[in-house]
Structure formats: C-alpha cells, structure tokens
C-alpha cells in the first residue's frame, strides 16, 4: 500500500475515515461510510467521486485528428469544439487496448483523451508507437485531478459551484473554465447512469474544489469505488478487465455503436469486422437469478446439461433492485432475452435468465 500512488485528495479521504485499498496501483477509497448509503445517495441525491486516478492524454497539432481517427474506432471527425465521445482503442489483433473518452477542446487541434488508470501507461506507449501521423501526444495525467459529480441533484450543485450553468450543457460536452483561479474542464459525462459531470481540475486545485463541493448546503455524499462498481454494473457499462480486454471483439461486447467502419479506416478494422461478418459466436448479456445465489466475475455459465456456455464478467447484488445481477459472455444461441441459463456457483448449477439491460433505467 505504501508504494501506491496517491491522488490529490488522499488526505481528504483519510480525514473522512475512508477505507483505502490499492486499485490499479493507486491508493483509493473503496468505501467512506456504508456502501448502500453511498450508492443510494448517487441514485437519489448527489454523490462525489475521486476519479483522479484516471489518465489524461493530450493530442495536439494538425495531425491530432487523423491520428485519433487511426487509433480509435468512433468517428472523431464528428466532434466539434466542446463535444465528447466514447471510443475504443484496438490493438493490432482486433482486441482492445482500452476504452476511452475523447473530448474535443478545439476541432482539428486539441483533444483530451481520458483513459483507465490501470491501462494508462500501456495506452500512452501504444499511442506513441502507433502515432501514424505524428501528432503531439503528451501524458498529462499528473497535471489533473478529477472529481465526478453524479446524481439527480448534481447539476444543481454544479450550477452553484461553477461560474457558468452546467445544467445548460448537453450530455457529452466539455467546457473549459476556472475555479478559484485553477483551470477546470467540466464534462457532462459519467459512469453511473445519473445526470452530472466529471470535472478535470488542475491538480493543485483538486482539494479546494472537493472541499467546496462537500461543504455546500446540498450536502453531496462522497462515494467510494465499491459503490461506483455497483452503479456501473447496474447500467451494464463495460469495465476493462471485466467485460473487455485485449482479446475482446467489441461487437461481441455490444459496443458496435462506438465503431464507425464506413466513416474511416482504423487500427485492426478488418480483424474487428471479420468477427462480425462471420456471425458472432458469443455476446455480452445481462442476467438475473431465478434461484438463490449471487453471480461473481469468473463464475461459469452453463446450460441445463452442465455444458459450458460462457463466463460471468461482473456480478453483484444490485442495491437499486435489491436482487443479484450479472453480466456475462454467453454462446450467441443463448443470448436473447428470456433465455434460460445456469450459473455455476461453487459447483451448483443455479438457474438464471437473460434480461434486458441496463438493469436500472432512469
């Protein structure tokens, strides 16, 4: 733990008596008070998340756009100033190096790419070594803190804290401004399914912003990684290392909407499309239990005869629904809604059913 990296909010977490864990090499709060309260505060009020461990990689210069077009799957050319988009970073064999968010700060000139903490160094090396059109690529991760403000009251809180109306922004936009003299970028994105934003803040100002948010009369609740994982699972949002990895075909993962093969050429385009054109063998689905048990990552999915159909990628007890939910790759023949599948829970075939996702609709 002592060797783990610390975010600019490390001391704030200690002040709040958070339970700290190592996550992707970072010393992070898994829980402040109570998982259920933190989760419910996000769904019903407003939660604050320290996501400063996320990586920020900056693409600049006249070849920033063509380079991002080559490296990622979505159509980055669609982005105008202040717009953001989810995308994927394929490797050279049709799997995924990472998933990411691309923020267009100035079209054709300046893009911020937000990547997973666990993959940041790998992503940065990959981007530099596949910098096809010589964009200026810099790892700015240490320059930025990041706070996610999520929940039905999030935008009201943001309007009170920032010097422009965040509530007037559309979803998936980004706006640069200042907070108490520190540079900020407010992005209307998130990983919870709730309204709100993610604020990049110049690292030295992160504590001040956190304190200003926490002390606001709306009383936002700090939320740890434990509740964050349940919130994203309820939305069936992919998490690298769970739903996606370096062997994942993004169409199997249900991420085809973030791939724009007719718009452009990109890394591993043919390999990725070939899997789709052959017909998908497996698909990522959501399921609920028909018999007692909680699915967990790695639990095998089987048919009634005990034959292997796939594997659980994420599973938990949904706090919103108060019942177990799971995400799994299964044989495509068992992927339609209503299909009966069995989860091997400690050797017991436990009945489950494929359901529509997201599990929680807002």
């Amino acid at each position: 733990m002592s060797e783990s990296l610390k975010t600019p909010l490390y001391n704030e977490h200690l002040k709040l008596n958070a339970r700290m864990v190592d996550f992707a090499g970072w010393n992070m709060p898994i829980q402040y008070t109570n998982l259920k309260d933190e989760h419910n505060s996000t769904r019903n009020h407003v939660g604050l998340f320290d996501v400063s461990h996320m990586g920020e990689i900056r693409f600049r210069g006249p070849s920033a756009l063509p380079t991002l077009q080559w490296l990622t799957t979505n159509d980055v050319a669609k982005l105008n100033d202040g717009q953001a988009q989810y995308g994927l970073l394929p490797n050279d064999t049709g799997g995924l190096v990472d998933d990411l968010f691309i923020y267009c700060l100035k079209k054709d000139e300046d893009y911020l790419v937000c990547v997973n903490a666990s993959n940041k160094d790998k992503d940065f090396e990959w981007m530099k070594s596949n910098n096809k059109f010589n964009a200026s690529i810099h790892d700015e991760s240490s320059l930025w803190g990041q706070i996610a403000i999520q929940g039905p009251k999030a935008l009201e809180l943001c309007d009170a804290i920032f010097d422009f109306p965040v509530s007037k922004m559309n979803r998936n936009e980004i706006k640069e401004s200042e907070f108490q003299g520190y540079k900020i970028m407010v992005a209307t994105t998130g990983y919870t399914g709730e309204a709100g934003c993610e604020v990049f803040v110049a690292a030295p100002g992160t504590e001040k912003l956190w304190q200003a948010l926490l002390s606001h009369p709306l009383k936002p609740v700090p939320v740890g990684l434990g509740a964050r994982d349940i919130l994203r699972t309820e939305m069936k949002y992919s998490l690298y290392g769970h739903e996606i990895d370096d062997t994942t075909n993004p169409y199997e993962a249900g991420l085809g909407w973030a791939i724009k093969p007719t718009a452009k050429d990109f890394m591993s385009k043919n390999a990725i499309l070939a899997v789709k054109e052959k017909g998908l063998n497996r698909k990522l689905i959501g399921f609920k239990m028909k018999e007692r048990g909680i699915p967990r990552q790695g639990y095998q999915i089987k048919n009634s005869a005990g034959e292997l159909l796939g594997v659980t990628t994420s599973g938990t007890h949904s706090i919103t629904l108060d019942e177990p939910i799971g995400i799994a790759y299964v044989d495509a023949k068992f992927s339609s809604e209503g299909s009966e599948i069995y989860v091997d829970i400690r050797g017991k075939l436990t009945k489950a059913v494929v359901v529509k996702t997201p599990f929680v609709t807002k």
Partner: protein
C-alpha cells in the same frame, strides 16, 4: 471502532466465534468480520446432519461486494441451522454475537478447542 468480543467465546483466525455448551458449539461471525464485510445479502449454509471439519469451509457469506468462506471452528456434525438467515441475513450485521448465529455443531472432540483463540488473543488479531 470498538467491537464487542464476548469473553466466553472461542475465536478462529478467520473471524468466526464459537460458543461451547458441553459438546454443542454455536458458530457465528464476529462483529469485526461483519464490519469488514459490510451488508450481508446472502448466506449459504450446510444441511443438518452434514459433517464439518475444523478449519475447513462449511458455508459462504456474501456481502454486496465480496464472497467470504465460513470456516468450521471444530469438527463435528451440524445439528441445527439458523434458517431465518436464508431469507433475511440482516441479523448477521445487526446482532452477529446472538441472533446472527449460523449453525450449531455437535463436536467430535473438545481437544480441538485448544486450537482456537480466547478473546484477549483475538482482540490482538483485529487491532
């Protein structure tokens, strides 16, 4: 946080408690264990009549975030299961030393109690 660690219980290093009444051993998880786990949402307990072995897993308790094996403090036969926990395991969090008990075991030999901790030793383990 101060946990209530009854002095008349025995303890395992895996945070189960054992209350011994002649050859009948009532088993639960400690206040410390439930605090570490967080809200318990699921338990998997053995059937009555099932044999258990000291230090071997006999069941599972799951919180929202984690799966945790339950280890038998003594070897013996399960004679009673707290079946109220199946539908509502909340007493494991609310009252782990009493109503949150898991199983009663008829122990094979009281010699195994020598392998367990008493409360002063267990308290040292969790500080």
């Amino acid at each position: 946080m101060a946990f209530h660690i009854p002095e008349d219980f025995y303890y395992t290093k895996d945070h189960e408690w054992a209350q011994v009444d002649e050859n009948i051993v009532t088993v639960g998880i400690t206040e410390f264990a439930q605090d570490q786990l967080g809200e318990v949402v699921y338990v998997d307990l053995p059937e009555e009549g099932q044999k258990v072995t000291q230090n071997q897993a006999f069941g599972v308790v799951e919180s929202v975030k984690a799966v945790s094996d339950l280890y038998a403090p003594v070897s013996g036969t399960v004679i009673e299961v707290n079946s109220s926990l199946i539908d509502d395991p909340s007493s494991i969090n609310d009252d782990p030393n009493n109503n949150g008990w898991l199983v009663r075991i008829e122990m094979d030999t009281e010699k195994e109690l020598a392998n367990l901790m008493r409360s002063p030793e267990y308290k040292k383990l969790i500080v």
